[in-house]
Amino acid sequence: MTVTSARTPRRPLRGVRAGALGRRAAGAVLLAAVALLSSAGPTWAHVVPSTVLQLDVHSDRVDGDLLVPATDLAAASGLSLVGADGASLPVDADTAGAVVDYLTDHVAVTSDAGDWDVQVTDVAVTTTEQYGTGSFPAVTADVVLTPPAGADVHRFELDYDAVVHQVITADVYVVLRSDDTGAVPAGNLPATLGAVAVDTVTGAIPALQVDLTGNTASGTQAGFRGMVALGVSHIAEGTDHQLFLLTLLLPAPLLAAAARWQGTVPVRLAIRRITGTTLAFTLGHSVTLVLGALGLPVPGRAVEAAIAVSILVAAAHAGRPLFPGREPLVAGLFGLVHGLAFSGTLAELDLSGGELARSLLGFNVGIELVQLAVVVLVLPPLVVLARTPVYRRLRVAGAVLTGVAATGWLLDRLGVDTPLAAAADGLGPASPWLPGLLWVAAVVVVARGRTGAGSSPAATGQDVPLVGSAR
C-alpha cells in the first residue's frame, strides 16, 4: 500500500472546504439512511453513528468517500480528534497524516489479480447527522483503490477493519454511489454493497466480498424474466380477464343473421376475427396498463365491477349477436378497463424510469404469452366443433354459465355476497385438463365424421358452411 499524506497542510480544513464538505456530508447522511433502511434485517439497533464508505467505480480504479464518526476513530486510533465537549477538534497536518496512516493500515483490497493499491487523502473534519443519531462530529477522507494494471474493477474483497477492530459495536456501511463502467444500471444506484461488523459469535471481522458483475446485463435480463413471470402468473392464476376474451371469441366461427348466430364462416375469416379481437383487447389493456402504472388513479372496486359487466356483455353476445362484426371495438374498449386492473399489480412495485419501462414490457409480454397460448389451445377444437350440431348447445350453455359466473362476480364486487363468485373462482384449479377434453371431443367428432359420413366438409375442415346448418 502507498501512504500519501494529507494535501492541505497547516490550514484549518473546516473553513476552507466547508462547501464541499457540506455537500459531502448531506450525501453521506442520505446514503447512510439509505444503507440503514435498505440493509436486510433489523440494523436499527444503533442510534449510534456508523461509518459510511461510498464507492464510485471507474474503468481503472474505485474511488471511495469515507465518513467515520470522530469519537469512534479517536477511540480506535488513539488520536485526539474530539474535545472534552464532544465536538470535533481541528485537524492539523500531523494529525491528518496520522489518520491517513491509520486508515491505510486498516483498509486492504485484493482480487484474483492480487493486492490493490490503497491511497487515502484529503482528511477533514465535519459535523453531520445520520438517521436517528442526532448531530455528531465525523472525519472524512478520500480513498482511491487501484487494482493491478488491467485487472477487473468489478470483483474484489474489501478487508476493512478501521474502527471496528477496537469499537466492537461499530459498523461500516459500504454503498455503491456511481459506476462509470455501466456494469450497474444507474437506476439501481445507490446500492448497498453490504456492511462490515464484528461477527459476535467468532469475534472475527469478515471481509466484504464485492461482485458487481452480477448486476450487469444478465441481472437486468433476470429482472425482465421476473416481470414476464409476474405477468404470466397474474393472468394464469384466476378466472376473469381471459374469460371475457374467450367468451367474446365463442361466436367467432359463426355467422350472424337475423339477430341470431347462423351457420359458420370460413376458417380463414374466423381466424382473422379471432386475431383482430385479441389484438384489440391487447391494445386496449396495454394503454391503461401504462397509464395506471404511471400513476393514473385506479378506482379498484369500480374497475373490478366493470370487468364483471364486460363478461356479462360478452356472454350475452355469445347467446345472441349484439354487436356482430364489432367485436374488436368492444374488446378494445373493455380492454381499457381490464388494463386498469393489471396496472394495480405494477403500481404496487413503485417503479420508475427505465426500470418501469422494462417492467411494463415484461409484464405485458407475460400476459400476451398466456393469452396466445390459450387462444392456440382452445380455438382449434372450437372451430372444428362449430361445424357440428353439438356447438350450438355448447355455445349457449357456455354463455349461460359465463353469464351466471359474471353475475356472481358483479354482485360480489358491488358488495352482495353470493355463493356464485366463490364457485366461479373455484373452477380455476380444476381446469388444466379440460382443454384436453375439448380436443378429445373435436377428435371424436372428426373421426365419427370420417367413419360415418365419409368425407363431409365438417370432417375435412373445408371452408364451406354445412348445408342447411341453421344452428
Partner: protein, 397 residues
C-alpha cells in the same frame, strides 16, 4: 335461447367454461390482500382454557374482553420467529421512518421517507415497526386491564418488574415534555399476543416500545422464556413526572458498580476488556449470536461476598419477571455462578458514556452499556438480558 338443454351439452359447456377458467384471472387477488396476521383474531374471551399458573391466560382474556373488535384484531398476532424478534430499543416512529428529529429538525437531505429505495440490494425490506395494539388507542378501563395483565407477569419489588415498567412509561412521557415530542410517550408502546393465550400450546406476551421489550413465552401454561428482555432508559437521572418519581435502571447501575468495586486490582484487570463498546453487543436483531468464547473474570475466582454481588446484579434483571418464576430462574443462574464471567470496558464505576459491563454464563447473558443521550444531555443506558437456552423459549427460526 333454447330451453331444452340436454345434460350432455351442460357437461360439454361446463368443460368449455372450465377450460376458459384455466387462464382466467382471479381478480380478487388485487382487491383484497388483507394481512394474514389477523387470521386468528377475535378470540374475545371465548376460549375454554382454564386459568393456569399465575392466571396469566385469565388476565390476558380479561384484557381482550375490554377491547373492541379492531383492537382485539391488532392485539392478536401470529406466533412466528419474525414477530417474536421484531422488538427494538428505538421509538416506533424511528422504525417506520416517520421520526421527527428532536431539537434541530431533520438532517439536510432528510431521511428517505417511505419504504426502502429500489435497487437497494437484495432482499431489502424496511421495517414496518412493532406489531400489536398500540397503547394510544386504550381507554382508561383498557389501560387498567393492561396494567393488571402486566402486573401479573412481572415482579413486585420496588423499582423492578411492574414498578419499573410504570416508571419507564412515565420516563417516556418526560421525554415528550422535554424536547422529545410526540414520537415519545406512553401512547407509543405496543402490546401483542403472539399466538392465542392458552394453557396448552405456545404463545408469547410481547410488550414494548422505546427502550423496553418484554418477551414472556408460555408453553402449556408455564413460563418457558422470559427473554430477550431489553431495558434502557432516558432520563437516567431521577426526575419527577406527573407527581411520580422516575428512576428506573438506577438499581441496575448501582449493582454493577458495587460488583466491580468489590474486585481486587488483579481481578479488575482480568475482567477488563481491551475493546471499546458503543452499545450492547446482542441488541435487537442479533439473536442467537452469543460469543463462542466467554471473556473476563470467571465466577470461580470470586469469593462468597463477590458472588453475592454478582447474583444481586443478575437479580435486577431476573426480578423483572413474576416473583415465583424469578426465584426459580435465579436459582438456576446461581448454580452456574462458578462458570459465569464478568467483563467490563471503560470505567469500573459504570457511570460514564462508553462504560460497559457484561455477565456471561452458561445460560445467563446480561449487557449494560452507557451511551450519549438522544433527547437529553448526559449518559443513558441500554441493557439486555438474554438466556442462551431459553431466549424466545428456544425458538430459533
Amino acid at each position: 335461447m333454447n330451453s331444452r338443454v340436454s345434460t350432455t351439452s351442460i357437461a360439454a359447456s361446463a368443460a368449455v367454461l372450465l377450460s376458459l377458467g384455466l387462464v382466467g384471472c382471479r381478480s380478487d387477488d388485487s382487491s383484497d390482500s388483507s394481512s394474514s396476521s389477523s387470521a386468528s383474531a377475535s378470540s374475545s374471551g371465548s376460549s375454554t382454557s382454564t386459568p393456569g399458573s399465575g392466571d396469566v391466560v385469565a388476565l390476558a382474556e380479561a384484557f381482550v374482553a375490554t377491547l373492541d373488535e379492531d383492537q382485539a384484531e391488532a392485539l392478536q398476532q401470529d406466533y412466528t420467529f419474525e414477530n417474536a424478534t421484531n422488538w427494538s430499543n428505538f421509538p416506533n416512529a424511528l422504525l417506520t421512518g416517520d421520526f421527527g428529529f428532536p431539537g434541530g429538525g431533520a438532517p439536510s437531505g432528510g431521511p428517505p421517507s417511505g419504504g426502502p429505495p429500489t435497487g437497494g440490494g437484495a432482499g431489502s425490506t424496511g421495517s414496518t415497526g412493532r406489531v400489536g395494539l398500540q397503547t394510544d388507542s386504550l381507554t382508561d378501563q383498557q389501560w387498567s386491564a393492561l396494567e393488571d395483565l402486566l402486573a401479573g407477569v412481572t415482579g413486585s419489588a420496588a423499582n423492578e418488574g411492574f414498578d419499573e415498567i410504570l416508571q419507564h412509561l412515565a420516563a417516556d412521557d418526560y421525554l415528550t415534555d422535554n424536547g422529545g415530542g410526540d414520537d415519545y410517550g406512553r401512547g407509543d408502546y405496543f402490546i401483542a399476543f403472539l399466538g392465542e393465550p392458552s394453557d396448552s400450546g405456545t404463545w408469547e406476551l410481547q410488550f414494548g416500545g422505546h427502550h423496553l421489550a418484554v418477551a414472556n413465552t408460555y408453553v402449556d401454561g408455564a413460563l418457558a422464556g422470559a427473554t430477550p428482555s431489553f431495558r434502557g432508559i432516558e432520563p437516567f437521572e431521577t426526575v419527577e413526572q406527573d407527581g411520580e418519581t422516575v428512576q428506573p435502571e438506577q438499581q441496575e447501575q448501582a449493582a454493577f458498580a458495587a460488583l466491580l468495586a468489590s474486585l481486587s486490582e488483579e481481578q479488575l484487570s482480568t475482567a477488563r476488556l481491551s475493546e471499546t463498546y458503543g452499545d450492547i453487543l446482542l441488541g435487537p436483531g442479533n439473536d442467537w449470536a452469543f460469543p463462542e468464547t466467554s471473556e473476563g473474570l470467571v465466577g470461580s475466582e470470586l469469593d462468597d461476598e463477590q458472588k453475592a454481588l454478582l447474583l444481586a446484579a443478575i437479580a435486577t434483571y431476573v426480578g423483572d419477571v413474576d416473583d415465583a418464576n424469578a426465584e426459580s430462574i435465579l436459582a438456576g443462574y446461581e448454580s452456574e455462578l462458578d462458570d459465569t464471567y464478568v467483563a467490563f470496558s471503560g470505567n469500573s464505576s459504570i457511570s460514564e458514556v462508553g462504560d460497559y459491563i457484561r455477565i456471561d454464563g452458561p445460560s445467563v447473558w446480561i449487557e449494560f452499556s452507557l451511551q450519549n443521550g438522544i433527547v437529553l444531555e448526559g449518559a443513558h443506558p441500554h441493557a439486555v438480558w438474554r438466556d442462551k437456552q431459553s431466549d424466545y423459549a428456544g425458538l430459533t427460526s
